[in-house]
């Protein structure tokens, strides 16, 4: 077991050879926010991109109890669909069919999303991006296609601390959001949008032809990983919606609308029952709720900056 007071090494402290050998062999323990993950990846082509994405994350060495064991291995299919495939499993169970090997990075990150959303019900898990500014948390709950990850990636490279592009995580009975900083998957046109918006952002390889189109991941900024144990109270709940040609509009909404939208955006609201109801009630009481409509990313970022800066006084 890692000592409670011990300073942990980072993934970057391993040499390339150590990283590849461990990742392909016994696996590597990595701390991602409240989750201690053990990753094992046999596909050699993924080793270097993963080392870049996770290089700032704490390394968990020695004997350790992990939140889950994620395994990504190459397999060969013979028959109608010949060729190299990739198999994702969590704690020995493969939750879906094998995928094309060239989609491995995306498969691993989607698989970790699945594991978090399906298993860790000691948290209320919102489908939301979360970032922090001035010590307070902004939640961006949204269904796929509303531009949440693109907006999140933009904010994370303009002075906001990334918590997550996918999961708004909090313990029932609290309103403090927990960081889970991981690579952010951009889709299709969003890849070039972020390259232009934040040229200093670190993007991974472009992966064409996935079930969600072309994907490229953005590495979480180092500061967001280094401060991943620092929570923040929810202050703003903004429901974003990107649509081409839409003029910017940031409109404060009623708390009842915020409650309804947040409850329907939670992965495990019904599972947690009364605890989830109480927690969402506390969230919409503590935070201001808004609707954000936009097409221009720069304008949207400035509007959210102003919201946070004005409230900070």
């Amino acid at each position: 077991m890692s000592g409670a007071g011990a300073t942990l090494r980072r993934v970057a402290d391993l040499t390339g050879g150590e990283w590849r050998a461990r990742l392909a062999g016994e696996g590597v323990g990595v701390r991602v926010g409240p989750f201690d993950l053990r990753l094992r990846v046999s596909a050699g082509a993924l080793h270097e991109p993963l080392r870049r994405f996770y290089r700032d994350h704490p390394l968990l060495e020695g004997e350790h109890v992990f939140s889950c064991h994620a395994d990504l291995r190459e397999v060969w299919h013979l028959g109608r669909r010949n060729g190299r495939r990739i198999r994702f499993s969590v704690d020995g169970i493969a939750p879906h069919e094998d995928m094309p090997a060239e989609h491995g990075l995306a498969v691993l990150e989607w698989g970790l999303n699945l594991a978090i959303a399906m298993r860790f019900h000691s948290f209320l898990i919102l489908h939301a991006a979360v970032l922090e500014r001035h010590g307070r948390a902004l939640l961006l709950p949204a269904w796929p296609g509303h531009g949440k990850t693109t907006l999140c990636a933009a904010l994370a490279h303009r002075g906001w601390r990334l918590f997550s592009d996918e999961f708004g995580l909090l313990r029932p009975g609290t309103t403090h959001m927990l960081p889970v900083p991981r690579p952010m998957p951009l889709k299709n046109q969003s890849i070039e949008v972020i390259r232009s918006f934040a040229p200093h952002a670190e993007l991974g390889p472009v992966i064409p032809g996935t079930r969600k189109g072309t994907i490229a991941h953005v590495k979480p900024p180092a500061d967001s990983v280094e401060r991943a144990q620092q929570t923040a109270p929810a202050a703003w709940i903004v429901f974003p919606r990107w649509s081409a040609g839409t003029p910017l509009s940031l409109e404060e909404t009623g708390r009842s609308e915020g409650f309804a939208q947040l409850a329907t955006n939670a992965f495990n609201y019904e599972l947690l029952g009364e605890a989830a109801y109480d927690t969402v009630r506390s969230l919409v009481t503590a935070a201001r709720c808004f609707r954000l409509a936009y097409s221009d990313l720069e304008q949207a970022v400035r509007a959210l900056d102003a919201l946070a800066d004005d409230d900070a006084g």
């Binding site: 009623g254 708390r255 009842s256 609308e257 409650f259 309804a260 409850a263 609201y269 019904e270 029952g273 009364e274 109801y277 109480d278 969402v280 009630r281």
Partner: protein, 104 residues
């Protein structure tokens, strides 16, 4: 022979409803819109002011449809007409199906 509509036996044959035990329902609301948690089912319902008046005031005691309509009309300054009666009747059946009220 059918009893007159306003006779005691006719009144007694009308269904009457009342809200389930108050500790089975949790309320929170803002500006006339409410999120209601029903503990036995674990479901959350989003209701308006009229529904709240029905569930938390008018149906604390067993009431018939006509009594509920009259009470709601009084509280909300509405005309107790056929339209309101039809609306309330549908609400009562829906709330009963959801387990929020029960027949007395």
């Amino acid at each position: 022979m059918t009893a007159p509509a306003d006779s005691p036996s006719a009144t007694q044959s009308m269904p009457r409803w009342s809200t389930v035990a108050s500790d089975e329902l949790l309320w929170c609301g803002w500006s006339g819109e409410y999120a209601l948690y029903h503990r036995p089912s674990g479901k959350t319902h989003f209701v308006n002011e009229a529904a709240r008046l029905l569930l938390s005031q008018l149906l604390r005691e067993p009431r018939s449809l006509d009594e509920v309509v009259a009470g709601l009309a009084r509280l909300q300054g509405l005309a107790p007409d056929e339209g309101l009666t039809g609306h309330v009747a549908a609400l009562l059946l829906r709330f009963e199906a959801l387990g929020l009220i029960e027949r007395a």
